[in-house]
């Protein structure tokens, strides 16, 4: 039973898993919730930032995410990895946030760009002059440009890309979070890369 990690304040001897902490929280441990918060709030805020596109919205959405986590404690079943469950809630919350803050009549595209432009707009990239394709240089405005390029994506594509490339979920886990097939995740991530490279082409040196 003992693990290698030293104690956290909740554990009384060993590092609790997220799943154990969630069950402890259900049993009434505020410390368990605080520990979960400490472990994950940065990732949640970062995810919300990438999904909503600005820091203030990210904090607002992240608060909503933790409120939902606390409210839903009774529905948590440790059959799923806690982080998978948490990010499923996070994605729903950010999607709602985007819908709520959308301008009247504006649609939040979720996955309508299955084949956004077809082959017609295939990325045209020439081979680098100096031959080393491992090195790709980005311009100084990369963060801002990347953030806004992310926001131009359909929400479901952005979510797939961010969950897999940003938060380390496998295709299979990402599929579970988004409620789509693994093949769809694969396609979305590829399409996302195409769209990002297209809109960031000027940022490539």
């Amino acid at each position: 039973m003992e693990r290698d990690k030293p104690s956290s304040k909740v554990s009384g001897g060993r590092m609790r898993t997220d799943e154990e902490l969630m069950l402890l929280f259900r049993e009434g441990s505020r410390d368990a919730f605080e520990e979960l918060f400490s472990r994950h709030h940065r990732a949640v805020v970062r995810f919300a930032y990438r999904m909503t596109g600005n820091a203030a919205s990210a904090e607002e959405a992240a608060q909503e995410i933790f409120l939902r986590i606390a409210r839903a404690a009774g529905t948590y079943r440790p059959t799923a990895k806690f982080t998978t469950w948490m990010f499923t809630i996070a994605r729903h919350a950010t999607l709602n946030f985007l819908r709520d803050t959308a301008v009247e009549g504006e649609e939040i595209p979720i996955a309508s760009a299955e084949d956004p432009d077809g082959d017609a707009r295939e990325i045209r990239l020439h081979a680098p002059a100096e031959g080393n394709p491992e090195t790709v240089m980005w311009g100084s405005q990369l963060k801002e440009r990347f953030l806004s390029a992310l926001q131009e994506l359909p929400e479901g594509y952005r979510a797939a890309f961010v969950l897999n490339r940003g938060d380390g979920f496998s295709y299979e886990e990402t599929a579970g979070i988004l409620g789509i097939t693994v093949q769809a995740v694969k396609t979305r991530i590829f399409r996302t890369r195409e769209m990002l490279l297209r809109s960031l082409s000027e940022e490539l040196k």
């Binding site: 049993e27 009434g28 505020r30 918060f37 709030h41 805020v45 970062r46 990438r50 990210a58 608060q63 409120l67 939902r68 606390a70 409210r71 839903a72 404690a73 009774g74 529905t75 079943r77 059959t79 799923a80 990895k81 998978t84 499923t88 809630i89 729903h92 979720i110 996955a111 299955e114 990325i123 990239l125 020439h126 680098p128 394709p133 491992e134 090195t135 790709v136 980005w138 990369l142 963060k143 990347f146 390029a149 890309f161 897999n164 490339r165 496998s170 295709y171 299979e172 886990e173 599929a175 579970g176 979070i177 409620g179 097939t181 093949q183 694969k186 396609t187 991530i189 590829f190 490279l197």
Partner: protein, 228 residues
């Protein structure tokens, strides 16, 4: 198979998600195609862009979140007075309702401490041996489900996301069961602190007030009212 057809496989290859067969196919092609090597390098380079897109929460983030959680009764209060098992809000409210009823019914025979000062978060169960005012007895564990009831008259603004056109929804996703997905989707109908105020919960709080007289701070369930 031309380059275009291989790009999605190369993308999965970059992510370490290609099958062994796909991987050797991709590796073989990349070895002989400069154009696809360029694409591959640029795909990989997007990681750097995503890595730069991050933000840190502001200083007050934690405090304001926990204040909201407490006001809503979604987490236990900070005090370490009670070591009783606690479940999110519902149990405490049920206990409060039961106790409130108990005191209302048997008020003449019970001395109620009404001093507002040292009131604690502890919820006492009725002394054993007394006739129970409710067949349910002290504090039956109440699952969260009622709180998620679609009957909650708040914010039915969201139509749950229907299946995206790009892909058949997978009922057999490995991480969450369809039930769990549905449960999380139902969370969307909850918005804000009002969720614990509706229906029976409100009654429970009223009973609590009736018995406590002050309904003031210090009682874990009563904190929910401040969120209204």
């Amino acid at each position: 198979m031309d380059c275009r057809d291989l790009r999605e496989t190369i993308s999965a290859f970059v992510d370490g998600e290609a099958t062994p067969e796909e991987s050797s196919l991709a590796a073989e092609h990349l070895a002989s195609c400069a154009g696809c090597r360029t694409i591959e390098a640029r795909m990989r380079s997007l990681e750097e862009g995503l890595r730069r897109v991050h933000t840190e929460p502001e200083k007050g983030f934690r405090e304001s979140l926990f204040a909201r959680l407490e006001a809503e009764g979604a987490i236990p209060p900070k005090k370490k007075i009670s070591r009783r098992p606690w479940r999110p809000a519902a149990v405490a409210l049920a206990a409060a309702a039961a106790i409130g009823l108990f005191f209302l019914v048997s008020r003449e025979s019970v001395r109620v401490r009404t001093a507002p000062g040292p009131s604690t978060a502890r919820v006492e169960t009725p002394p054993s041996g007394r006739p129970d005012p409710k067949p349910a007895g002290g504090a039956p564990p109440v699952p969260m489900e009622p709180l998620l009831s679609p009957g909650t008259p708040t914010a039915m603004r969201d139509i749950p996301e229907s299946a995206p056109p790009v892909a058949a929804p997978s009922a057999s996703s490995p991480a969450l069961s369809p039930d769990e997905m549905e449960m999380i989707a139902l969370l969307d109908v909850l918005s804000g602190p009002v969720s614990f105020e509706a229906g029976e919960d409100a009654e429970a709080l009223d009973l609590l007030d009736a018995f406590g007289g002050n309904g003031g701070s210090g009682k874990f369930p009563s904190g929910g009212r401040s969120g209204a």
